[in-house]
Amino acid sequence: MAAEIEKNEHIDTRPPVIGPGHNFASLTQKIVDIVLMRGFKKGWIFGFAIVFLGALMLFNTIAYLVLKGVGIWGNNIPVGWAFDIINFVWWIGIGHAGTLISAILLLLRQSWRNSINRFAEAMTLFAVACAGLFPALHTGRPWVDYWLFPYPNTMGMWPNFRSPLMWDVFAVSTYATVSLLFWFMGLIPDFATLRDKAKNKVQKSIYGMLAMGWRGDARHWHRYESAYLLLAGLSTPLVLSVHTIVSFDFSVGIIPGWHATIFPPYFVAGAIYAGFAMVLTLAIPVRKFYNIEDFITLRHIRNMCKVMLATGLIVGYGYLMELFMSWYSGNTYEMFMMKNRIFGPYGFMYWLLILCNVLVPQLLWVKKYRDNLLVVFIVSMFINVGMWLERFVIIVMSLNRDFSPASWRMYYPTIFDFTMFFGTIGFFLTCMFLFIRFVPMIPIFEMKTLLPEAKVDEKKVEQLAEGRGPLGATPLPQFGD
């Protein structure tokens, strides 16, 4: 087998997208084992305990928040939005990588994506869930949040369709729905594999239900492929639209620092930037921990680094344009806003942002660093922080000193701002832990298409059909193996 693989591989100096020595069976076994193993790894329990504490912290904060009011946070007048909306935008941004990897790269036939797309999609889903918490809970009266939906009611009241927050409701809920569908659909064949491989009854029945009667029938595959492609097509504009609309929350406002036409592209690039950084932040330890370096190879890391580098440059260009426009506009408020951003009381935040998002990622130009997992991990951490800072700079630093100097005021977060923020990280990681443990984090069937075995030789098939092939009576390999 190994010899065949080598022979089939065209000359390529890049690291492979799948490690050597794998066949259908070994691949399936390796991925399925993570899910179907008995008991839990000690490391998993330890990690889960920690992140679950974080999730509990979030639940406690939410309970107290609903009980007392958003006043437990540090928001004030003029800074009506702070950590709440920063975190919302941050999480939504992170949520962009999944769809981008799944949908756009699928459409672009970037097959290397196959090993990371499930992972990235799950990340998207959980990130969007975390993101959704903030707009839902940042309102003064969260129990009437449903008023933001255009539902028929006896009062004849409609929401205000001019408000970007209203658009947000649609954008985010659509995105969440499509992401969930996309993720779940992709899982169906793998759930079927799990069902077939499961040894105990409980697992068998649960995965059986989730597999929705998948039998690997050719018609199933046919429908699956078209539906998946359709969803990919649907998701693709969403990648662009969600963050565009999120950016409208700011650019529709008249506050200097918000009111900018560059926001949509700049936000989308930022979102992809943040998303890939988060994928790397999670993937690097996971591949190590679960010994799946064969499936998430250096090739993937390199590619993602390149995407980050590209989007990072777009983001950097955005910062530059903001600077230029504030000067070019000749507008007092704009110029002051920029001055305040760079030299004002929160000026250090801006410089940190530049460091994290513009300077540090330039390391990725160097091939050596792209191959050094530690460097890549640190850089992606910098980007995670930097993207959070970017939202702080945009939201808080624009609000705290706007038009009316008499109302200028500093914003300081409270302990609950932090418990809420770190709580969502805990919640997010809790979901990731559960996902890794109970759902195949790498799409088994898609990975198989990357194996040389999947590259079916037409001649051989003919020979097979005539019953005189070199493989004799061996049937075609089945994906279910």
Binding site: V144, L165, V252, I254, F403, A406
Partner: protein, 1046 residues
């Protein structure tokens, strides 16, 4: 008996006695139990114990600790709720008598329609006429009485907040003997026997201590008592003693006189440290009169010229055309310098700076030019000599009798109060006093210690008072003095009892009650009646009988008319022709130079401490420095940097460094507040804080500056004074960030240069000369986009009403009356110090203060800022649920019920006038405060946005009334709460579609502009630029141009 009727605190006196009885160290079980929950180890044990025993006495709304999630009081709130659930009677007051429902509604009462009654508020002994709005017998809102000479419709913060004091749940609620509840009958028995004990001694051991009294009927009662007890003495003392003015006028004219200034006739005014726009009798009227000479509307291009030499930057100084910051002790030198320039011999002035000399020369020249049309007014905190010099100058210039009118004193007992209280302390200390009756005063807290002539030791009022056998205290609160009196009688609030008083000009004003005493209070009249064995007489009988004797034949008619009007017509005291004493100047001592000095001032919001428990006043930002809930040491920037107190390192917090003030053997560490315009080496401190027993709101706030005062120098401590940097820092709650009020680089944050702010043209100012040449010059450089610059058709507002407002910044004196009026009218919640620090103050109307022109002597501009009701409102577009929308009359309305609380509207508001209920700030529980609410305005819950509505409830009321009569609303029929409160008529509201309305006329004034008009928000509120009438001799550049010149 309900909880509230019980005593809320065991008095220290009781503690002392019980300590003797109890075996040492043994405490009751209950206390042990509660002590385990103690969190604040340093609080008075007894106080805490009783607060816990009767938690209902804690006022949740007015309590800033409530919002502290871990606060001790939060626990108490839960406690009180659980007690209520446990079936204890709630705190409502049911009448004892049978109640009878209306069968026929009495005439004039329409349920749901408020009624207005004329009454008067007595503040510092002097009456201001008020109209009080009453909803079904509940007074809810105070307005000025337009007929009353001291008000003319305007009010001040104290009048506006008085209605909260009425309902204050912390007010004293029962007659107490040693801290235990007793009945009025019990007291009368004891009181009679104590008085009878004095009969043989002709009352030689009997002392009465009152505050300033102008009430003719109360004075008559006390005089009658004195005829019964010829040896009994009547002492008068309150911190706002006005001794300087009283003694100064006697120094000049040889007799006590009342001085009435007629600013409406004065072309040149020189203030010698007088804060006449905010303090003292008649200040509301003076503000109106003073501003009437500065009104540049209707084509007028004339203004008075106002010189102000002052030791602390006050709102009066802020309105000055030329202001001289100078040490309080040097004011006399300025006065002498001016006098000598005018040929009045008033002794040699001390050394003055060139600037001060120039100032004095210019003022003297202008005063001379305006002989008979000028006023020199000395500050109440200045010594008698300065007042005497001012009177001499006024006499010399012929102002006396023209702009400065003298009448007989309005006070019933004009005395040197410092001497009066000192005499009382000495007598008590010498054990010459057996029976002390204190009415209203709180001398244990606010009287200075005096030197005992025998021992040479300083004796405090309390030490001396302990030697009196029977002490009776009558007051609104169970305060520091009540704690050390055997008997405490709850006093009635002025809205609860009959009384009378004289206004600043002597006009007799009747105080009509609007409600029965809420807390079993008794009035001073009843107490005095009891003293002369007329215990059955009510205050009504006493006041009425007094005036029956005065008014003669047509009494009934006159009385009825007087009650209706709120004053006795024509009762102002007649002007007296007085002549300066020939040797008036003989008492003048040479001016002493002081190196460093401490200036004591009455607090702009809590006065002498009597309003300490009034959360509205505590949360009112003090003018200019915008600090709430505290007092502090005001330091000039230079002195601050000399002492290393500059707050520059952290300009973003109002974190103040501590400064230690030493005055002889007294010292006090206070937070230092660096304030531009403060004279160097002078630290000003406000009185009225550091109360021990003010109530749940006011106790233990700030620092007791009375402890720094001595009897000899009540206002200016210039000897043995030293400042040094203290230890640590202190968080002050400022509503405007310190650095942001700066247009000229006052802050160390140099990058926020004046230009950045000036280019926004938020505050537009100009000089009078320039204004005369080109009235539009104030707008130089500003830009307003034309209405045609949009492709969208605008809304047509030309039909029906279009509500609008103008605010004349030339008239605004920054007195805060509008702020508190708005709070009262619109049920605005108090949030407490912690929340103010967090930037969540709820005031719909704020007074933005802008400085211009350097830190030494900046010009100060006030800009009241509320919802501007933009026609292109940025808030409306972004609300996702349509909770803030525009109505057809141009009002930007906020629908609380619909508001979800996204705060997007506030973020998008360029004026940042929206206020968000981050927590449950409104008080939904305290029973007494429910009566306070304006029933026409929703009490907001947590999680909703709120903001100025242009008093939409008043607009609707007027529209309904007009529709009933089938007519349009007349101009002036709708007055917003801020407008009615404004003493200077700076705020005008009305229909801008009516070209004859005042507001429409004002919008056509050349000075009219809209704030941030360049954003094309098209606000309905607009401002009239501030103009200064500077003297070219003093460098006329001051005040010229727009604030381009930072």
């Amino acid at each position: 008996m309900s909880n509230r009727d019980k005593n809320n605190e065991i008095s220290p006196i009781r503690e002392e006695i019980s300590r003797q009885i109890r075996s040492n160290g043994v405490t009751r079980k209950g206390r042990e139990f509660w002590r385990s929950l103690e969190e604040l180890a340093d609080t008075d044990k007894f106080r805490d114990y009783l607060h816990r025993e009767f938690p209902a006495l804690n006022a949740p709304e007015t309590d800033p600790g409530m919002l502290d999630p871990n606060g001790r009081r939060n626990f108490l709130k839960l406690m009180s709720a659980s007690l209520a659930f446990a079936g204890l009677t709630a705190c409502t007051r049911q009448p004892d008598e049978k109640i009878v429902p209306y069968v026929k509604t009495p005439d004039g009462i329409v349920p749901g329609k408020p009624q207005f009654y004329a009454t008067s508020m007595v503040h510092g002994g002097v009456a201001t006429g008020l109209l009080v709005e009453s909803h079904q017998g509940r007074p809810t809102k105070v307005e000025g009485n337009p007929e009353h000479p001291a008000s003319l419709g305007g009010t001040d913060v104290f009048a506006q907040a008085s209605v909260l004091q009425l309902y204050d749940p912390d007010r004293s609620q029962a007659v107490l003997y040693l801290g235990d509840p007793r009945t009025w009958g019990d007291f009368l028995g004891e009181f009679r026997s104590a008085i009878d004990g004095q009969r043989t001694k002709q009352g030689s051991g009997f002392r009465i201590l009152t505050e300033n009294v102008t009430s003719p009927s109360l004075a008559a009662q006390i005089r009658r008592l004195q005829t019964e007890f010829p040896q009994a003495k009547w002492h008068t003392y309150e911190p706002d003693s006005r001794d300087g003015a009283r003694m100064g006028v006697r120094m000049a004219f040889g007799e006590f006189l009342n001085v009435v200034y007629q600013f409406d006739k004065a072309d040149v005014v020189l203030s010698l440290d007088a804060n006449f726009l905010a303090e003292g009798p008649g200040s509301i009227r003076y503000a109106r009169d003073f501003i009437s000479k500065r009104r540049l509307t209707g084509g007028s291009k004339d203004m008075n010229r106002f010189y102000c030499a002052e030791s602390t930057l006050t709102i009066t100084g802020a309105k000055a055309d030329h202001r001289l910051p100078i040490k309080a002790s040097q004011i006399e030198s300025v006065a002498r310098e001016v006098a000598s320039q005018l040929g009045v011999s008033a002794g040699a002035p001390g050394a003055l700076s060139a600037e001060a000399k120039k100032f004095a020369a210019a003022a003297a020249k202008d005063l001379k030019g305006a002989s008979g049309k000028g006023i020199v007014i000395a500050g109440e905190h200045q010594p008698a000599s300065v007042h005497a010099i001012a009177h001499a100058i006024n006499s010399a210039l012929g102002n006396a009798g023209a702009t400065v009118v003298y009448t007989d004193p309005i006070e019933a007992n004009p005395v040197d109060q410092a001497e009066s209280i000192a005499e009382l302390i000495r007598d008590m200390n010498a054990e010459r006093v057996d029976l002390l009756v204190i009415i209203g005063a709180n001398p244990v807290y606010n009287a200075p210690a005096v030197k005992d002539p025998r021992s040479g030791r300083e004796v405090s009022f309390l030490d001396a008072m302990k030697k009196v056998a029977t002490r009776v205290h009558m007051g609104l609160y169970n305060d520091e003095t009540a704690a050390w009196s055997q008997w405490h009688i709850p006093q009635t609030h002025f809205l609860e009892a009959w009384d009378d008083a004289r206004a600043y000009d002597g006009t007799v004003s009747i105080v009509q009650p609007l409600i029965l005493p809420l807390y079993n209070g008794k009035s001073a009249h009843e107490l005095m009646a009891a003293a002369v064995n007329e215990a059955g007489k009510t205050a009504y009988d006493i006041v009425r009988d007094h005036w029956k004797a005065q008014m003669g034949a047509e009494f009934e008619q006159t009385w009825k008319q007087s009650l209706h009007d709120g004053m006795v017509a024509g009762s102002a005291l007649p002007a007296k022709t007085v002549a300066l004493k020939a040797d008036w100047a003989s008492g003048l001592a040479p001016v002493k130079a002081a190196k460093q000095e401490i200036v004591f001032r009455l607090d702009p919001t809590v006065h002498d401490g009597r309003f300490a428990n009034n959360s509205w006043l505590q949360e009112t930002p003090k003018p200019i420095n915008k600090i709430t809930w505290d007092n502090f040491a005001i330091v000039s920037p230079k002195t601050a940097s000399d002492l290393g107190l500059a707050t520059n390192e952290e300009p973003y917090h109002a974190t103040a460094k501590m400064v230690r003030l030493v005055h002889g053997n007294r010292d006090l560490s206070m937070p230092a507040w660096v304030q531009p315009g403060q004279p160097d080496d002078t630290i000003t401190v406000y009185l009225g804080y550091g109360r021990e027993r003010a109530g749940n709101v006011g106790s233990k706030l700030g620092f007791n500056t009375y402890n720094l005062r001595t009897a000899g120098s009540p206002w200016i401590a210039a000897e043995n004074v030293k400042f040094e940097a203290g230890e640590g820092t202190y968080q002050l709650a400022s509503t405007q960030e310190h650095f942001s009020i700066d247009t000229s680089g006052i802050d160390s944050d140099a990058f926020i240069a004046g230009d950045d702010l000036a280019a926004r043209h938020i505050v537009r100012t100009g000089g009078l000369d320039e204004y005369r040449k080109d009235p539009k010059s104030v707008h130089h450089g500003a830009h307003t986009p034309g209405k045609e610059l949009t492709i969208y058709p605008g809304w047509d507002y030309s039909q029906g009403y279009a509500w609008g407002m103008t605010i004349d910044m030339n008239a605004c004196i920054g007195c805060n009356a509008c702020v508190v009026a708005c709070q009262s009218e619109n049920n605005i919640a108090v949030v407490g110090k912690e929340m103010v620090i967090r930037g969540r103050i709820m005031h719909w109307l704020r007074i933005d203060t802008y400085f211009k022109g350097g830190t030494v002597n900046p010009e100060v501009y006030f800009q009241p800022m509320m919802c501007q009701h933009c026609e292109n409102a940025p808030c409306e577009v972004v609300c996702p649920v349509n909770a803030t929308v525009h109505d057809a009359e141009g009002l930007n309305v906020q629908v609380y019920n619909r508001c979800v609380g996204t705060r997007y509207c506030s973020n998008n508001c360029p004026y940042k006038v929206r206020r968000f209920n981050y927590l449950l700030y409104g008080d939904w529980e305290t029973p007494s405060l429910k009566n306070l609410r304006n029933p026409e305005v929703t009490v907001r819950s947590r999680g909703v946005m709120e903001k100025c509505t242009f008093c939409v409830q008043r607009i609707m009321g007027a529209k309904i009334e007009a529709e009933k009569q089938d007519r349009k609303v007349r101009d002036g029929e709708v007055m917003t709460a801020c407008q009615t409160a404004c003493p200077t008529e700076a705020i005008v509201f009305g229909d801008i579609n009516d070209p004859k309305s005042r507001v429409a006329e004002l919008k056509n004034e050349p000075r009219n502009y809209e704030v941030l008009a360049d954003l094309n928000t098209r606000p309905r509120a607009s401002y009239l630029a501030a103009i200064r009438n500077s003297n070219p001799d003093l460098g006329g550049s001051k005040g010229h141009g727009s604030n381009h010149q930072g």
